[in-house]
């Protein structure tokens, strides 16, 4: 059950519906204030204050305002604001893309230049290496020739020395053999009473010396 409470102040009429159980017939302060504020502002004689409805109930006026404003925003967004923003974004993307393509081009050019430079560098390097090799070859040849010369000289000197050595050794051997033969002949003469044949003594001496040497 609801009870309507009507209050009149001057030419202002205020209506409030309250549950019948409630004994409180005064206006809530906030409502009073707002009601009088509105009355002053709009100069309307009547300020309506309804009972607060169930909070789950959708209020028709609020729904209409929300629907209207949402649809306005949607139409604006769909046909005007969003395409305009998107156009700017696309323009920027396109410019970035073309810039980056230009950068890629420049990079490729630079790469070609670098490749050419490296090619020239390689050629120069190869030439230098060739020259160095040739010089080294010459030096090597000279060195081998000189080495060979020196070796030959050394070999000749050694051969000469060997020859002298051998001659000296042969002479010494001859002397020793002659001395040994003389001694042997003398020993045999003393033992046998007659001088042995020189050739037999010589052969014996030679064979002994050969045997002892080996």
């Amino acid at each position: 059950m609801l009870t309507a409470i009507v209050t009149q102040t001057g030419d202002q009429v205020q209506v409030r519906l309250v549950p019948s159980e409630t004994t409180d017939t005064t206006m809530p302060e906030a409502v009073l204030m707002s009601a009088s504020a509105e009355a002053e502002a709009t100069e309307t004689a009547v300020a309506e204050v309804k009972t607060p409805p169930n909070p789950v109930n959708p209020a028709q006026n609020e729904m209409l305002w929300a629907a209207g404003s949402f649809l306005v925003l949607f139409v604006l967004m769909r046909y005007f604001l969003f395409p305009r923003l998107k156009k700017g974004t696309e323009a920027r993307y396109a410019s970035i893309r073309s810039n980056s393509e230009g950068a890629v081009q420049v990079k490729a050019d630079a790469k070609t230049d670098v490749a050419e430079y490296e090619k020239a560098l390689d050629a120069a390097r190869a030439e230098a290496a060739g020259r160095v090799d040739a010089a080294r070859q010459t030096v090597d040849n000279e060195r081998t020739a000189q080495l060979a010369q020196v070796n030959a000289r050394i070999a000749a000197a050694r051969a000469e020395a060997d020859q002298k050595n051998a001659a000296a050794r042969a002479a010494a051997q001859g002397d020793v053999a002659a001395a040994v033969a003389t001694v042997a002949t003398r020993v045999a003469e003393l033992a046998l009473g007659k001088a042995p044949d020189a050739s037999v003594v010589n052969a014996a001496v030679a064979s002994t010396m050969e045997g002892s040497r080996s």
Partner: protein, 95 residues
Amino acid sequence: MEAIARLIAAEAAAAAEAGTTTGDGLTAMGAGLAYGFAAIGPALGIGNLVGKSVEAMARQPEAAGMVRTTMFLGIAFTEALALIGFVVFILLKFA
């Protein structure tokens, strides 16, 4: 925390009503209980859901974006049950 706060609000509202009749008191109590019980299931559900999602994101950080989207969808569906309880609470109080 939120649920407790809501319950406190409900009970405070119930206490404000207490001056009237027993029926009103019972309604208020039922309203508070409606929300309290309605919050139990979704609370477990959301806890489980978010925990598993975090686990999945930690295991596979590269799938984090997808997992997060699905997690929010799941939370939205699970939470709806608790919110329906909240609306029932309001309806019980005002219908």
